[in-house]
Symmetry: C3
Subunit: 266 residues, 3 copies
Amino acid sequence: LNASPVAGAGRRITLLTDFGTADGYVAALRGVIASLAPGASVDDAGHDLEPGDVSAAAWALARYWQLYPVGTVHVVVVDPGVGSERRPLAMEALGRFVVAPDNGCATLVLAEVVAARVHAIDHPAYLRHPVSRTFHGRDVFAPAAAHLACGAPLESFGPSVSDAVRLPMPVPRTAAGTVHGAVVHVDRFGNLVTNLPGDLSAVLRVLEVEGRGVGPVRETYTSVPTGHVVALIGSAGLIEISVRDGDAAASLGVGRGAVVRGRLRG
Amino acid sequence: LNASPVAGAGRRITLLTDFGTADGYVAALRGVIASLAPGASVDDAGHDLEPGDVSAAAWALARYWQLYPVGTVHVVVVDPGVGSERRPLAMEALGRFVVAPDNGCATLVLAEVVAARVHAIDHPAYLRHPVSRTFHGRDVFAPAAAHLACGAPLESFGPSVSDAVRLPMPVPRTAAGTVHGAVVHVDRFGNLVTNLPGDLSAVLRVLEVEGRGVGPVRETYTSVPTGHVVALIGSAGLIEISVRDGDAAASLGVGRGAVVRGRLRG
Amino acid sequence: LNASPVAGAGRRITLLTDFGTADGYVAALRGVIASLAPGASVDDAGHDLEPGDVSAAAWALARYWQLYPVGTVHVVVVDPGVGSERRPLAMEALGRFVVAPDNGCATLVLAEVVAARVHAIDHPAYLRHPVSRTFHGRDVFAPAAAHLACGAPLESFGPSVSDAVRLPMPVPRTAAGTVHGAVVHVDRFGNLVTNLPGDLSAVLRVLEVEGRGVGPVRETYTSVPTGHVVALIGSAGLIEISVRDGDAAASLGVGRGAVVRGRLRG
C-alpha cells in the first residue's frame, strides 16, 4: 500500500480507549500497528475512560483532534456494542482521520465539520483475521488506522455512510431573561463543563448550578479564595464551573446532566 | 555495539510495569533507554499493575508480545524480589525478546514457545552502575533492553538458563461429563478469563462459576440483555464470563481462582 | 526556527502532568507539539499526579531528568496558579531543558544545578494564540517546549529570572547522637522516602518513624520477612522505609511530613 521504505513513516496515530493500562489491550493495538505501519508514531491520547462512556470519549476527542497535523489518524475504542451489528467507521474531517465504532464517539467532530466524509470499514484487506467478537480494537480499528496511515484511500474501506450515530447534545435555550443549560462533561479535576458558550459571559449577570449560586463568570481561578466556587471560560471555549484548588463535582455533589441557569443582564 | 548512525534506530521496546505513572519511575527507564538507544522507539505496554502481581503481568504480556514485529524487545518489571538472588533474564522467542526478572512474568511466553532461548543478565557492560538494590528497572532491565535493541547478541548477556521460574498454570480437567476449570485472570472491565479453551464451546451445554449458572457460550455481549451474565470466546481464545455493559467480577463477587464448571453435551 | 527537513527531528520531549489520562488534555499538548515539532518524539513521563501536588511533581522530575540525553526538553504541568500572575519558566541545566510554571516544580533541579539558566516565557512568538486562562499546558508550555526542541535559544523566550520559586526542602539535623529527618515523598507502592542521605546508614544504629521502630538500614527488601517494615537505601540515594511486599504508608498510617529519627553509633 505504500512505496516508502518504511510503511507509515512520518504519520501519526493516536489512541483513545476505555481499556485500562494494565491489561495489555492497548499494547495489542500498538503491536498490530507496529507490524503494519512500522514507520508511524503512536500517541496515547487517553485510556482508562469509564467503561463504555461514549460521551466522555466524544468530549475528550474534541479536545485534541484538530490540534494534530493534517494526516493524523485518531483511533477511538469505547465500544460497548462490540460484536453486534454496529458498524466500524473511518472518516476524514479537515484532513485528519477518525477510526471509531458507530456509536457517537465522533459526535463533536461531525458537529464541527459538516463536510466530513464517513465510510464503513468492511473491506477484508483492512481487517486482522480471524476477527474476534470481543476485541475490534485489535482486529478492526488498529489495522484500519495503520492502513490509513500507510496511505490507503478512505473510499476503499467500505461504503459511504450518511447516517452515523450522533449523541444527543443538549442545546441551551433562553426564556424570560434566563438562559437554561446543562453540565455536559466532568473532567478529572471535577470541573463542570457546561454547554453555555463563553461569549455568553458578556451578558451573564450570575450563574447557578442545581439552584446553587455560582456568581458571575470570572477571569481566573485566583479571582476567588481557595475552596470557593468560580465560573470561568474554559479551554474548550465553554463556561465551566470549578472550585479553586478543589473539585467542583465532589463539593457541589453534581455531575453530568446537572441543570445550569444564568440570569442575563438588562 | 551498533554501527548505525543512531543506535537502536528502527527498533522497538515496550514497557510493562507495576510502577504508577505518577512517580517518575517509568520515565527513569525511558531516560536510560533514550541515552543508550536514542533511535529506538519505546511503547508503554502497561503500567499501574497491582504491585507485585506477577500473574497479571504474565497475562498482559501474552496479549501483545507476538503481535509486535520480530526484533521487538518487551520489558517487564513486576519485581517483588528486586535486590534478592532472583536472576534477571533476557530471552528470545519467535524473534522477539523479553527482558524480565526470573519470577514467572514470562510464563505464558515460555508455554507458547518451547524453543525459547533464555539467558541470565550478568555481564557488567550491560548494566547501569552502580546497580541499586531497589530499582533494577532502571539499572538492569532498561539498559539490557537498550543493548538488545542496539544489536547486542543474547548470548553475550550471561549464561544460558534452563530452569526459568514458571507460575503454576491450572489446567482444566474432565470427569463424568463435566469440565472443571478456573478463572485465571480478571481484566479492568471485570471480565473473568477462564482457562477453558474456546474450542470447548462446541461441546459445552452450560457453564457455571462458583455454582452460579452462566448458560451456554454465546456469540456476542449483545446476545443477552444489559446487566445479564454471558459467556463468550474472548480475544485470547479462552472462554470468558462477562456481564453485558457491566462488571462480572463485581456483580458475581468472584475473582481469580474462582471455580468454573461446564456440562458437556451427550 | 529550524532548517532541518523535519522540525525537531532527533529531539525528545517529556510530559509530566496532573492531568488524568481520560480527558484528552495530555493529547492536546501532544497535538500542539506534533504540529510545531513533528520530528520530536514525546514521552509520557507521568500523568495523574494528585491535582496541584507541586511537591510530588518536583520529586518525580528528580527521578529522571538527568537520565535523559542532553537536549531533552522536560515539560511539567502541575499548575494550580494557572491564569494568575505566576510566570511560566524555561530553564537549562546540564544541557537538558525544563519548561514549567514558576511554582516550585523544578525545586530539585535547581538544588542540584547551581548554574541553571532560568528565563521567563513571554515572547508572543512562542505561545499559542489566543492564550486561554485555564490551559497553559496547551497554550504556553507545549508550544514553548516544541520551539526549544526546534532549536530556539533559551534567551529568546523572555527575561532572565533569578528568583524562581523553590519549595522549602526540610534538611535533616543532628543533636545529641540523634538525627532528625522527615518523610519527603510517598510513592505508589507506599514507600516512605526520607530526607536522610544513604551515606548515613553506615553510622545509623536504628531508625524510627513517628515513634515506631524500623530497625537498622538493610540491604534488600528480602532482608526481612513478608509484611515486615524495612529501611533501605532507595534508588534516589535516600533512606526509604518500606514494608516488604506491602505498603508502608498504609500499614504505618504515616505520610509526607512524618517525623523520622535515627540513633547514631557511638
